[in-house]
């Protein structure tokens, strides 16, 4: 039971990170209708930028951890968001009205560009960081089994919840959110009614990338390392999460993220670590067989 509780905590933390990335996938899919394959690499770039800005802040003598974290968060969100904007501008916008496969291939190309760019720019070796946030609470201690909740885990989950609240508010209450929902339903009609479609799509990429940057930073805090290849696997998992939750649905993305995080953690805890990804992907396939539109997705209406 204690072991299970501990794994549950770990799974939820991992799931929060996946969920943050999955939101970016699902938002872009909802509006543009394409799989943004480069999104996982945007997450990786976010991790790198967090690492570098953290390093600079520490070396100029800043010691207050909350201040460092806040600055790192803002810097990585801002720069990574610009990466997302640039990627959309260069690789997707020219292909917006092209046929279905073209933007996807261009996205796969962009994913190669981003991951190899950071390999060239920052080297291929894994970059470790010392634990930035230490300490935690012992929730349960009996018969030698300890259930621990570390401060990093608390920060990851709280940041995720806060961001989700802000984000939900933005989508449901602000002008931008309304524009986004309008574009999702019918781009032509939205444009006729005075919505700047290009700008809205750009903003979608910016917001999605900023959330991915937060996920990247959380990953860095939680695991203490980044490398240029981490975007691919995390990206596929997060996309799996988005599809599992029903692509295009925002709560679905978070739910899917948590599901994938829990499946992965519990599978590694009880069965085998080697096959955790196989388990996650198999669950995806099984869910899609019985619910082809995911857990919370709307059924696609077939028009002839």
């Amino acid at each position: 039971m204690d072991y299970f509780a501990q794994q549950l905590i770990n799974g939820i933390v991992l799931g929060s990170i996946y969920g943050l990335i999955a939101i970016g996938y699902t938002m872009v899919y909802g509006i543009v209708g394409m799989i943004n394959f480069a999104h996982g690499d945007i997450f990786m770039i976010g991790g790198f930028i967090a690492l570098i800005s953290f390093l600079i802040l520490v070396s100029i003598g800043l010691t207050a951890v909350p201040v460092i974290l806040l600055i790192v968060l803002l810097v990585s969100m801002a720069i990574t968001a610009l990466y997302g904007w640039t990627v959309e501008r260069i690789a997707y916008r020219p292909l917006r009205h092209s046929f279905r496969l073209a933007p996807m291939l261009s996205a796969i190309g962009m994913s190669f560009v981003l991951s190899n760019f950071s390999q060239v720019a920052q080297g291929a070796r894994v970059k470790p960081v010392p634990p930035i946030i230490t300490g935690g609470y012992t929730l349960l201690d009996q018969n030698g089994f300890v259930v621990r909740l570390s401060n990093v885990q608390i920060i990851v989950v709280i940041t995720t919840i806060v961001l989700l609240l802000i984000f939900t508010w933005m989508v449901s209450r602000t002008r931008l959110g309304r524009d986004m929902r309008a574009c999702e339903q019918d781009q032509t009609m939205a444009a006729l009614l005075g919505v700047d479609v290009d700008r809205t799509i750009s903003m979608t990429f910016v917001i999605g990338s900023a959330l991915a940057a937060v996920a990247g930073m959380m990953y860095l805090l939680y695991y203490g390392l980044v490398d240029f290849y981490m975007g691919f696997v995390a990206g596929i998992k997060a996309f799996t999460a988005a599809v599992l939750g029903g692509i295009g649905s925002l709560p679905g993305a978070m739910l899917g993220g948590l599901a994938i995080g829990l499946i992965e953690t519990l599978w590694s805890a009880y069965f085998s670590v080697e096959y955790k990804d196989v388990a996650a992907f198999s669950i995806l396939i099984i869910v899609l067989i019985f619910m082809p539109t995911g857990l919370l997705g709307r059924p696609e209406v077939e028009k002839v």
Partner: protein
């Protein structure tokens, strides 16, 4: 191609406009590269992260973006607005039409003659084998993606199944290449059906992600099932193919000794070259024949509109499954060939990058065009080889090329559709006019 006169010559943008655009691009580049290029981090000797600055590189890159942006603007102005159709003189048009008809036979003759012309150049022969392997993979995937319109991101799984089938059958049971080749194809197509069953109801991007997951599952199982596949160490000592029982070795029973000529390792390379050429041509021939059969027409109908297909009484299940099985079978053949050529296989050869590369070849080739796929494979793999010296930058350049090619020709190199069935004469249409259902 219709010929239209542009209504008015494009106006030259002002110098100030170009300058402003370039300045914005340079600013964006400055922010993007500030931390990633300006600061270089590395794990120091004690495990502590150290960093040093590279502001020179950063400045150079930003300057390059500035200059590049000006150049792009000027080019764009010279080339006119997007979508303008340039006037092509009739003479050139007919010459192009002739060239297009002649290119396929010429390529075939060239491919047949490659080992004769470049007999002494091992590098060219190896490159030719590589290109032909990808041509074959491209043609195989073309059945699934180009003809049936089923987006498959896990094609490399069948390649892996074929390669491991041959490797394991040959090393464990000593079966020869020619017995294993059909077995590898059959096993791969069985896996194709196995993948096909669960995804029958899925469409579009759901299908894409499930096939991707399937490819990853196969790779992960290969890595982790160490007792069977050797895990990350792979399988080594895979036997080379024999020419119908006669090995191409320097020994007394080798081909060279039997023919009474001096032994050379090039014989084997040339032999391999002709095997893959034959396999690729077989793929092409089967595909062309199948397109004329009811099943091939059903595939193409499925690509265009699944709902209409159902309404017309086409059995969607068998149509999709046969497409997956046929495509997978060719992937399996190519995999078996890959294993025998390399003599060593490991899971590293079967990553998502390979699937993406093959898919890029198919899409760049124009989705369904056999000639287009061959040309695309030649361009991609040949281009890839040009950057062999710049090992570090190779994938980066590949990614940039993929993006640029897609922007330049989203419909692929040969963006024309020739109808399989026609009344009086075959009229090719541009793929832009083809509205595809989302199968």
């Amino acid at each position: 191609m219709t010929v239209l006169e542009p209504t008015s010559a494009p106006r030259a943008p002002g110098a100030a406009f170009i300058f402003k655009k370039a300045l914005i691009s340079a600013l964006v580049a400055l922010v993007l590269f500030s931390l990633m290029i300006g600061i270089r981090t590395e794990a120091g000797p004690t495990g502590q992260l150290i960093y040093w600055t590279r502001f020179g590189d950063l400045a150079a890159l930003v300057a390059a973006v500035f200059a590049g942006s000006i150049a792009v603007e000027l080019l764009r102005w010279r080339w006119g607005p997007v979508g303008m159709v340039r006037i092509v003189p009739p003479g050139v048009t007919s010459a192009l039409a002739l060239a297009r008809r002649a290119i396929a036979p010429l390529l075939l003759i060239f491919a047949l003659l490659v080992p004769v012309i470049f007999y002494d150049q091992r590098y060219i022969l190896d490159l030719g084998i590589l290109v032909l392997t990808y041509v074959m993979l491209g043609w195989g995937l073309n059945v699934v993606v180009g003809l049936a319109g089923l987006l498959d991101l896990g094609y490399v799984a069948f390649y892996a199944v074929g390669a491991y089938s041959y490797a394991l059958l040959a090393t464990n049971f000593g079966l020869s290449f020619w017995i294993c080749l059909p077995l590898a194809g059959i096993l791969a197509s069985l896996w194709g059906v196995m993948l096909g069953f669960p995804v029958l109801r899925l469409r579009g991007d759901y299908l894409a992600i499930v096939t991707l997951a399937f490819g990853e599952i196969i790779r992960l199982v290969i890595i982790n099932w160490q007792s069977l596949t050797g895990g990350p160490n792979g399988v080594s000592g895979i036997p080379r193919p024999t020419m119908f029982g006669i090995p191409l070795t320097p020994g007394d029973d080798g081909l060279a000794a039997k023919l009474g000529i001096e032994f050379s390792t090039t014989h084997r390379i040339v032999f391999l070259f002709y095997i893959i050429l034959a396999l690729a041509l077989l793929t092409n021939w089967v595909t062309i024949r199948l397109r004329r059969l009811p099943i091939g027409r059903a595939w193409e109908a499925l690509r265009e509109d699944e709902v209409a297909c159902r309404a017309l009484g086409i059995n969607i299940t068998t149509t999709k499954l046969t497409a997956f099985a046929t495509g997978a079978m060719f992937g399996g053949f190519a995999g078996a060939f890959f294993a025998t050529r390399q003599g060593f296989i490991s899971p590293e050869s079967f990553t998502f990058q390979e699937s993406a590369l093959v898919l890029a070849i198919v899409v760049l080739g124009g989705m369904g065009s056999q000639l287009g796929v061959a040309l695309a494979a030649l361009t991609m793999i040949g281009g890839f080889e040009l950057f062999r010296g710049l090992e570090q930058y190779r994938m980066l350049v590949f990614g940039v090329a993929m993006v640029l090619l897609m922007i330049w020709r989203p419909r692929g190199l040969i963006g024309h559709r020739a109808p399989t069935v026609f009344l009086k004469h075959s009229q090719e249409i541009s793929s832009d006019l083809v509205k595809e259902g989302h199968g």
